[in-house]
């Protein structure tokens, strides 16, 4: 029976991947499927994924087995290094995989009407299917190498969906900003994988050591565990929009509402915490890495809760609310409350997806509620006004309105000077070429100058 379950686990990734193939090939030959067929293909991919997830869960519970490993062989190998396809279905990955497939299926169904006759209808579904496949890769990955593979694809699809309305400049700029953040943080993930290979010879998920789920093999020294732990934290904060790389998230809401919901309310934003949960063995071995996780989470939660209260549009407010909750989940993971973190992720993802999907009809919902209550909705958030001293409130409001100044600092003190410096070097290079190509130009200028001189 275990071999059947292994095939099922492959199906969790395989069905969305088949949908990608069906949509992608057809779109390339300029004959995209009709809207109905497109939705049916993607819907089938995710529904089948949910079904095999459910069968796997049932079997795991019935057979009282904590994990199923699926070794699919080596993708490529050279010398002592081998990139293996290893999937793992356990108490951490299977709930996530099931939950992801359910949400993706729901969003696919919701988008059928929401994006009806939208010019990019087929593109949206293709990107959604690629995203779904990539998320399942990350969740079921049995090694950090395989995590990286899915992680990269999530980043690309995320940026492309933020820039979905590609004829406007804003979404494109915001998509690029999100992508830059992702790429810089992906450096941490690849470096962590390389460091694990260097220190322990493998980046595979190791054998279970008594915890609720297995984690990556821990380097033997504290310093090694700290380096790998910090690199993984670095990788996670990009996708999870934690400080100091949080500025892209409110901007990412420029994409279509369904993709905002499934990416930044539910799945993409929680891949950071998921990676930390999978790496918990490493965090436990290094108080420095665990402490850094707590610090990043706590600071982000504080920052986001204040900034979120000054936002004047619902999607930005929801983005900061997501950031706050993910910050709290980081704190829980750093403190070792694994089950609480898992429950928090699932609960938060579900409610936030619903909120973002409902956000376009917010005014209608408010009217409906007010009519039902017979009066205006009561103001919320007053407890913070009581906690913060009155003299301090205007300053805090201003800081929150400027999003803590993080964007300005990043732009004015890091990005702009770096680009200026690079442009200057490039300018010198071009001047050298000009000097080589037009040695007479300087001479000509000089002779002209001589001519006009009295």
């Amino acid at each position: 029976m275990e071999s059947v379950i292994q095939v099922m686990v492959v199906g969790i990734v395989g069905f969305p991947a088949l949908a990608v193939l069906a949509l992608g090939l057809r779109a390339w030959v300029y004959h995209p499927w009709s809207e109905r067929t497109t939705v049916a293909i993607v819907g089938f991919g995710f529904s089948a994924s949910v079904t095999v997830c459910a069968i796997t869960v049932a079997w795991l519970l019935h057979a009282d087995v904590s994990e199923v490993r699926v070794p699919l062989g080596s993708w490529f190998s050279a010398g002592h290094y081998s990139f293996d396809w290893n999937l793992i279905a356990d108490r951490l990955s299977i709930p996530f995989a099931t939950f992801s497939a359910v949400l993706l299926g729901l969003v696919a169904s919701f988008s059928r009407r929401y994006l009806h006759r939208e010019p990019g209808f087929a593109r949206f579904y293709l990107l959604l299917a690629i995203f779904g496949t990539a998320v399942q890769f990350v969740v079921l990955a049995g090694s950090l190498d395989l995590v990286f593979l899915g992680w990269e694809l999530v980043g690309v699809t995320s940026a492309l969906l933020i820039a979905f309305f590609h004829e406007r400049r804003g979404p494109v700029e915001h998509g690029l900003r999100a992508f830059v953040t992702y790429r810089l943080c992906d450096v941490g993930l690849l470096a962590a994988g390389v460091a694990l290979h260097f220190m322990v010879g493998t980046s595979d998920v190791g054998p279970s050591t008594g915890g609720p789920w297995a984690g990556f093999v821990v380097p033997s020294t504290w310093a090694g565990a700290s380096i790998v732990g910090l690199l993984i934290l670095w990788a996670s904060i990009g996708k999870a929009a934690q400080l100091p790389f949080s500025g892209w998230l409110p901007r990412a809401m420029e994409g279509p509402t369904p993709s905002s919901a499934v990416f930044y309310g539910a799945l993409s934003i929680h891949l950071g915490p998921y990676l930390l949960l999978r790496s918990e063995s490493i965090l436990q071995a290094s108080w420095l890495a665990a402490g850094a996780v707590i610090a990043v989470g706590a600071l982000t939660a504080l920052h986001a809760t204040f900034v979120g209260r000054t936002q004047s549009d619902i999607k930005s407010a929801l983005a900061y609310a997501s950031m706050t909750q993910v910050g709290l989940i980081y704190v829980e993971i750093g403190l070792g409350f694994r089950y609480l973190a898992v429950a928090h992720i699932v609960g938060h993802a579900a409610i936030r997806t619903l909120q973002i999907l409902r956000s376009p009809s917010l005014l209608h919902d408010h009217h409906h509620l007010e009519q039902a209550m017979g009066r205006q909705l009561p103001r919320t958030g007053g407890h913070l006004e009581r906690l913060v001293p009155q003299a301090f409130q205007p300053w805090l409001y201003r800081v929150a309105l400027e999003r803590g100044g993080f964007d300005a600092v990043l732009k004015d003190w890091a990005v702009a000077p770096a680009l200026r410096f690079l442009s200057r070097i490039d300018g010198w290079d071009q001047a050298w070429v000009d000097y080589l190509t037009k040695p007479s130009a300087a001479g000509e200028r000089r002779s002209r100058h001589d001519e006009v001189r009295p």
């Binding site: 390339w28 300029y30 080596s74 993708w75 490529f76 190998s77 050279a78 010398g79 002592h80 290094y81 990139f83 010019p119 190498d145 990286f148 593979l149 899915g150 990269e152 694809l153 690309v156 940026a159 820039a163 590609h166 004829e167 406007r168 400049r169 494109v172 700029e173 998509g175 690029l176 992508f179 830059v180 790429r183 810089l184 992906d186 450096v187 690849l190 470096a191 390389v194 460091a195 290979h197 260097f198 770096a418 680009l419 690079l422 442009s423 070097i425 490039d426 290079d429 071009q430 050298w432 070429v433 080589l436 190509t437 037009k438």
Partner: protein, 455 residues
């Protein structure tokens, strides 16, 4: 047998290049050159099959011509060179490519094919100089940007002379001086920092088909493999690897500051070349395999990427990266091909580029932990460059000038290139295994040096 196939390719491409150059119009020249390249590709594929199935005469030797038998991997690399050549010709816009240019592109591909077969240092030096001369002649004929020919000559004359002198010195037993001179020649050709200044204006102003035919086959990498592998002293090898890594990072960073699409492409290629230079001079066989794969990926993916850019420029004119230009709605397939091949060249998962860069980084971390980290950073920055170019060239505006999407010819060629990158990425095990044999084969007999100290 390899020599026999190369001779047939020579007998095919040489008259065809003349025939293409005599055409009345660029369109006819492209047509003729495409068929010639296709035939050369079929010959390369036949050679591959011949060798794979060990058909009669497969082991026939022509040592008198080549000094030694060509390497076992030459047929595969010949086929890739033909693919690069085909992309360079079939995707060349007629607006910037004259019949004479097609003739020179064919000649450059022919030189690259012969370069893989000839193992005699003097023969390599002659071909090295010939490819530079052919390219310079084309640049000299350009009506605009005449200065580019001058810059090219300033850099490539010393490169050819250094390479030829180095080859002579290596043959005469003056190994130290020979190695240094050959390295200088290769460094200029591969646009390694600080010998790179000719390259960005070359990519920016020369016909793109010529750029691809001259640069994508990466003769410098082959020359390095043939003449210098296992010949560099330990310290020098480390120095060259460090220069390669610095080139990879600095070029990737400079690519972000570019305001012109073709110039950004130049820095992207330079960065990738830096990765190859780094990998070849590590002592790890895994990193060397990664470098060889990166070499091939640069060739194929960058050829497709560059030619897509040229096709876009032929339709639009300007390739400014300062403000978004739109037109995704008008040219969706061109945009997808551009993005796919850009990402494939910088290591998009499931393409062969990902395999190459993974092996490169994993193999080099033991020997160069800091530089391996720098390579990861370079790859990340290159990815940003590709996405930035995609967004700026294909989106951000609803305006358009009526650009048309890929023609059947362009779509067919790009489909072929993308399929190669994707299929090679999905099933890379065989390729990697064969490259293990390459790194396992002993270095050339010309240059000997004391064996490197084991780490």
């Amino acid at each position: 047998m390899t020599i026999a196939f190369a001779t047939v390719q020579l007998l095919l491409l040489l008259p065809m290049s003349w025939f293409a150059g005599r055409s009345n119009s660029s369109r006819t020249a492209r047509h003729r050159a495409s068929y010639a390249m296709l035939a050369a590709g079929v010959l390369a594929a036949t050679q591959l099959v011949w060798r794979a199935f060990d058909l009669p005469g497969a082991s026939w030797s022509a040592a008198w011509l080549s000094m030694e038998d060509p390497h076992s991997w030459v047929p595969a690399f010949s086929l890739i060179t033909c693919l690069i050549g085909f992309a360079a010709i079939a995707l060349s816009p007629i607006s910037e490519t004259r019949p004479t240019t097609f003739r020179r592109i064919l000649l450059l591909v022919l030189v690259a094919l012969l370069f893989l077969v000839i193992r005699h240092p003097i023969g390599l030096a002659v071909l090295w100089g010939a490819s530079a001369l052919i390219t310079w002649l084309e640049l000299r004929d350009l009506k605009q940007q005449r200065g580019i020919a001058k810059v090219f000559a300033i850099y490539h004359l010393p490169s050819a002379v250094a390479f030829a002198l180095g080859a002579i010195l290596l043959l005469s037993g003056q190994h130290a001086a020979g190695v240094v001179l050959v390295l200088v020649g290769i460094g200029i050709r591969e646009a390694v920092l600080p010998l790179h200044s000719w390259f960005p204006p070359f990519v920016q102003h020369a016909p793109m088909g010529l750029v691809v035919a001259f640069f994508a086959p990466q003769l410098g990498v082959y020359a390095h493999l043939e003449l210098l592998r296992d010949a560099l002293p330990h310290e020098l090898a480390h120095g060259v690897a460090a220069v390669g890594a610095v080139t990879a990072v600095v070029a990737a960073a400079l690519g972000l500051a570019q305001t012109n699409g073709r110039r950004a492409l130049a820095f992207l290629i330079m960065s990738q070349t830096g990765l190859v230079a780094f990998g070849l001079d590590t002592s790890s066989p895994i990193a060397q395999i990664g470098a060889l794969l990166t070499w091939q990926v640069i060739g194929v993916a960058t050829a497709g990427f560059a030619m897509t850019l040229a096709s876009l420029q032929a339709r639009r004119g300007s390739l400014s990266l300062t403000s978004p230009a739109g037109s995704f709605t008008r040219t969706p397939r061109m945009a997808v091909a551009f993005l796919f091949m850009g990402f494939a060249s910088v290591g998009l998962p499931l393409t062969i580029g990902f395999v190459a860069e993974d092996l490169l980084v994993q193999g080099s971390v033991d020997e160069f932990p800091v530089l391996a980290f720098a390579l990861i950073l370079a790859t990340a920055l290159n990815g940003v460059s590709v996405m930035r170019a995609f967004f700026m060239l294909f989106s951000g505006s609803s305006k358009h000038i009526g650009e048309s999407d890929l023609t059947k010819r362009e779509a067919g060629t790009l489909t072929l290139v993308m399929a190669v990158l994707l299929l090679a990425g999905l099933f890379p095990a065989g390729t990697v295994r064969r490259l293990e044999h390459v790194t396992g084969e002993p270095g050339h007999a010309v240059a000997h040096a004391p064996p490197r100290a084991q780490e």
